[in-house]
Amino acid sequence: MNPRHLLAMPLKAVLAAGLTCLAGAVFAQSADPDEMARRVDELASELATVKKQLSELEQQKANAMPASSAAEEPTTVFTSYGEINYNRPTHEPENAQADLRRFVFGFQHRFDAQTKLVTEIEFEHAVTSAEDPGEAEIEQAMIEHSLNPTWAVRAGLFLMPVGLLNENHEPTAYYGVERNFVETAIIPTTWREGGVQVVGTFENGVTFQTGVTTGFDLAKWDATSPEGALSPLGSIHQELALARAYDLSIFGALNWRGIPGLLVGGSLFTGGATQGQAVVSASVTLWDLHARWTPGRWDFAALYSSGSISNTAALNMPLVGNPTLIPESFDGGYVQAAYKLWMHGSQVLSPFVRLEQFNTGRRYADLGPGLTPAARPTEQVATVGMNYQITPGVVVKADVQHFREDQDADRVDLGLGWSF
């Protein structure tokens, strides 16, 4: 936006008009010497005022242009992130696997100063076709519109403001090759829903988000498959793909970043998940609390999340005997510490440790003796490793993971990731 145009035309016109008025005013009066003198003084002082204002305007004109605007205002910006991962189970090395886990590109397009479109497209596992394991999906497609410096509205397919990872899930944003289990098994990162939300960012460092969105579909629960045991919500999410929208969900998220380097927040999501298709109505509720503190070179994080599904007894009755029934509750939490051990130029080496605990079947509703599934064992995973940032936006990661319950899953991981 070039302010020169704004100032040039009206300014000249105004000055011309003003001077004409001045001239007119002078000649309109009768010729009395004292009166004349007084008027001349008046004119002189007003002229001085005009000069001062003109000088201020010119200064403002100069200052309104940023000092070194080497960057033009971007309207369409491409973004991308990707992960290539290698996993080698320690006790079953024959199951070692290398995978182009994610290839994501997206773009942001700004329509005007208040409105922009944010999109993200993801390809998983390199090759997508009927015979190949890959999947192609749209992860984000939303319009964001600022109402004023405090409030903005988002509508479309957007990421849910839950946990630490969901809205910031790029490989450069978390420690370790794979995303942590709590934020994949309990919080189904990357979790997105379609709907509307308002975002308020306040002067005290609080960000408040709330909205109405689509939710989950319990008809998708497959009791014969292990999917529901790996991630209950991940197995019934709709991702706005011909999503059933009879039941809508509401959510709220509150995050405080008032002190630099500290984040404390939480969220709550709840909504019907039977979509008018089942014999009973059931709803899914998920809440989380999280904190992140980065004093100096340290990076500490902690998170706890708990989910519950109502009326699971009625939903599970026709599924008795199957390996994976719908749990009544599932939860998990972790603590993590990382340290910037070595920095040189744009390289950063950050070793880290993470301890997590989660249970995708913490409790099952009673179905009667012999039919009620036992609670699943609580899994505990310890991860030790390091992130090595080659340059901001490119990271090489390595870690070792030990599982308390599923020890066959113990593994060594290597990863390469980028994000821009």
């Binding site: 200052n63 940023p66 960057a71 700004r110 100063a113 600022s146 410096p149 002190i259 070179r297």
Partner: protein
């Protein structure tokens, strides 16, 4: 008879009346140097040797032309303000750095911020971290300057930009280009 400059009043309004522009440059200048009666813009183009000097300090010069506004009161300098843009993740962030005569940062203001995340860099608490730093200070985001969780790129780019501005102003003063 008094002349009323109605049209000029409209023209004097902030250049960008958009939602995410929080301050105009003029407003930022006044905040940093409330005693100043005049801000004198000085062009300061970098020559090759000066750019190399900056690189040697670990600062990427990025552009050749720099405009430093000298805050003055009755002709005497009070300090300097530079307005600059950096890209956060995908959007421009416009910010201003106010530097005192001692070469130390007086104040940092964010003029416009459009990213979906990270508005917290506007909070006084985050900007206060820069106060007192000089060209000789270590200015690393995520280390000396605490990051905003979820806005690492905005934080690091603005930090980099502030570091650059401090270095450029110091260079300008050493070379006699600034009073």
């Amino acid at each position: 008879m008094r002349i009323v400059f109605v049209a000029t009043a409209a023209v004097l309004a902030p250049v960008a009346a958009f939602a995410v522009d929080y301050l105009s440059a003029e407003q930022a200048f006044k905040l940093m140097f409330p005693d100043a009666d005049h801000f004198e813009p000085r062009e300061f183009p970098l020559n090759a040797a000066q750019m190399q000097e900056l690189e040697a300090q670990g600062v990427r010069a990025r552009s050749v032309h720099w405009t430093v506004s000298v805050a003055q009161r009755a002709g005497a300098p009070l300090g300097y303000v530079v307005v600059d843009n950096v890209i956060g993740k995908s959007e421009l962030i416009t910010y201003a750095v106010g530097i005192g005569l001692d070469g130390a940062i007086k104040q940092v203001e964010v003029l416009s911020y459009r990213e979906s995340h990270g508005q917290e860099i506007r909070l006084p608490a985050w900007r206060r971290q820069f106060v007192g730093k000089t060209a000789a200070s270590s200015l690393h985001s995520g280390d000396d300057i605490a990051n905003i969780s979820g806005a690492t790129l905005s934080c690091s780019h603005v930090t980099e930009g502030v570091k650059r501005i401090v270095a450029v102003v110091a260079l300008a003063r050493r070379s006699g280009g600034l009073p």
